[in-house]
């Protein structure tokens, strides 16, 4: 088997399915490994001083030599949650071993990995990620606190503030209002992330290697991802050169090949960055704008 691209995950998941379609269109040699079948197969990996990382995946009776992989698009999900391992400690242990072997290979291979697990880390602490982002873009004033007095003082600084999760757990960005004052004692459980509300135009930028795809999102909701009005509009747009370059640089700095960057072009002229998502569900934006993001990902695997 000569060089080929490797796709790991659940093939019916839209972001993966789109890349697979593009690989077929490009006639690029590739192998798709369905994670649900993988857990019934096997994986071994190794590292040698002479040849670096290598390995073999055995699935559905086929052996796949990892040393021939040119690029990997991985959207492996939490393997312990797969129904194929439910109720069986032996299958769970086996799945753990083979995912460990795969992880060992992906973290040490010279092949292009979209994206390495280690590079996903910063997204699990938004305020930590902000410490990095602020070297590239403006960041909203952010307060992570369990102190009600600190929240009230923060609110006094800005016309409006919002709150959301600080971790990678998805939450709905919510305005902090007088109705929330009675809930402030709940901060005793854990700090909450508060931010200044920044009014402006949302722009989601997908970065794939050197390629930049920007989409403007018009929505009246505070968090357009949860705009129930059905009025949200996503359209392709161009961003200034320095913004595009900043997105590419930030993506590279985080060790990522693919990212979804949430910007807001603020009414006061700032370009504010909220988050860099290492596993973006880019397909929604591609479907609305026609931007060839999946094709760009597929090309990076060759």
């Amino acid at each position: 088997m000569s060089g080929f691209a490797l796709v790991l995950g659940l093939p019916n998941e839209p972001p993966l399915a789109a890349v697979i379609r593009e690989l077929v269109k490009m006639a690029m040699p590739h192998v798709v490994v369905d994670q649900r079948h993988l857990v019934s197969g096997d994986a071994r990996s190794w590292w040698t001083p002479d040849d670096g990382a290598g390995g073999v995946i055995s699935v559905d009776g086929v052996e796949i030599p990892l040393g021939d992989v040119t690029g990997v698009y991985t959207r492996l999900t939490g393997w312990s949650q797969l129904p194929e391992v439910a109720g069986s400690p032996d299958r769970l242990a086996h799945a753990g071993r083979l995912h460990h072997a795969l992880e060992g290979w992906m973290e040490s291979t010279g092949a292009r990995v979209i994206n390495r697990t280690s590079a996903n880390d910063s997204n699990n602490s938004k305020p930590y990620q902000a410490l990095i982002i602020r070297d590239h873009f403006d960041v909203p004033a952010t307060l992570v606190t369990n102190d009600a007095d600190a929240v009230l003082a923060f609110r006094d600084e800005f016309p409006r503030i919002i709150y959301k999760s600080a971790s990678g757990e998805r939450s709905i960005v919510t305005p902090f209002t007088d109705a929330d004052l009675d809930r402030l004692p709940l901060l005793a459980s854990a700090p909450v992330q508060f931010q200044e509300f920044v009014s402006g135009l949302d722009v989601r930028v997908h970065v794939v290697g050197p390629d930049v795809f920007a989409s403007a999102v018009e929505s009246s909701a505070v968090d357009y991802r949860y705009d129930a009005s059905g009025q949200a509009r996503i359209t392709a747009c161009q961003v200034p050169y320095d913004v595009a370059a900043g997105c590419v640089a930030l993506t590279r700095r985080l060790g990522l090949e693919l990212s979804g960057i949430d910007l807001r072009f603020a009414d006061d002229g700032r370009v504010v960055c909220f988050e860099v998502n290492p596993s973006p569900a880019y397909i929604v934006y591609e479907d609305e704008t026609g931007q060839p993001i999946a094709a760009a990902i597929a090309r990076r695997l060759g």
Partner: protein
């Protein structure tokens, strides 16, 4: 002030605290329980700068500017009261995210800076360590997922900032240079590397959560030197 954060069962942390105290160092040991029970946890990031303050129930305050150096040995967080397992997991994630931001925002050296996936610092797979070490020019062992390669004649080297400490056998100056680069590259200013001398000093593995007591007084000296030099620079 040198602040040490970790569990009371962490014998290495307690050993280091006692050793630093014997050397006349002003130290403070803070437990994870005390941090998540803080009466005030504040971490702020904006374009003007970064600031933090943690006020513990006993009145101690960990202001961002106070410690000269932090030894971070956080491994896990104590569970918080919650109405369900899902809520408990969410609270744990939120505290981890907050603590990573807090420790990463401190201006003093933190040994080691946490990651969201690992509060005590970077956790690399063994092949990842080998790959990075090899890329930096260190001769390395081989590895297989089928079982760890034995280390016939182990020789350990601690890295503390820019200082390399040979525990039993002297490594070469070149190896020391490579290890300093490795430490900076992976983000672990405190780490222990293990070589196998049986095949000409081949790098075998490393850890960013080393058994501190193995470092002995030289480790204590290096930590004091790091805390002192940063204080004088500041």
């Amino acid at each position: 002030m040198i602040t040490l954060i970790g569990e009371p069962e962490d014998n290495d942390l307690l050993w280091l605290a006692a050793a630093l105290r014997r050397r006349g160092q002003d130290i403070d040991v803070v437990l994870p329980d005390e941090i998540v029970g803080a009466t005030s946890f504040v971490c702020r990031v904006d374009r003007a700068g970064v600031s933090s303050s943690v006020r513990l129930r006993d009145g101690r305050t960990l202001a961002g500017s106070t410690p000269r150096l932090v030894i971070n040995r956080l491994a896990a967080l104590p569970p918080r009261p919650a109405t369900s397992a899902v809520d408990a997991a969410y609270l744990d994630e939120e505290w981890r995210a907050a603590l990573v931001a807090w420790l990463r925002s401190l201006p003093c050296p933190v040994l080691n800076p946490p990651r969201a996936a690992s509060l005590s610092g970077p956790v690399l797979t063994r092949p990842a360590w080998l790959d990075v070490a090899s890329a930096l020019g260190l001769p390395t062992q081989a590895w297989t997922s089928e079982g760890d390669m034995a280390i016939a004649e182990p020789a350990d080297v601690f890295v503390v900032g820019d200082t390399c400490l040979d525990l039993t056998h002297p490594a070469s100056p070149t190896a020391h240079d490579r290890l300093r680069q490795l430490s900076r590259l992976v983000g672990a200013p405190l780490m222990r590397a293990r070589f196998d001398r049986a095949d000409g000093w081949r790098f075998a593995e490393a850890t960013a959560f080393p058994p501190l007591a193995d470092g002995g007084q030289p480790l204590v000296d290096a930590i004091i030197e790091l805390a002192t030099s940063r204080a004088s620079v500041a």
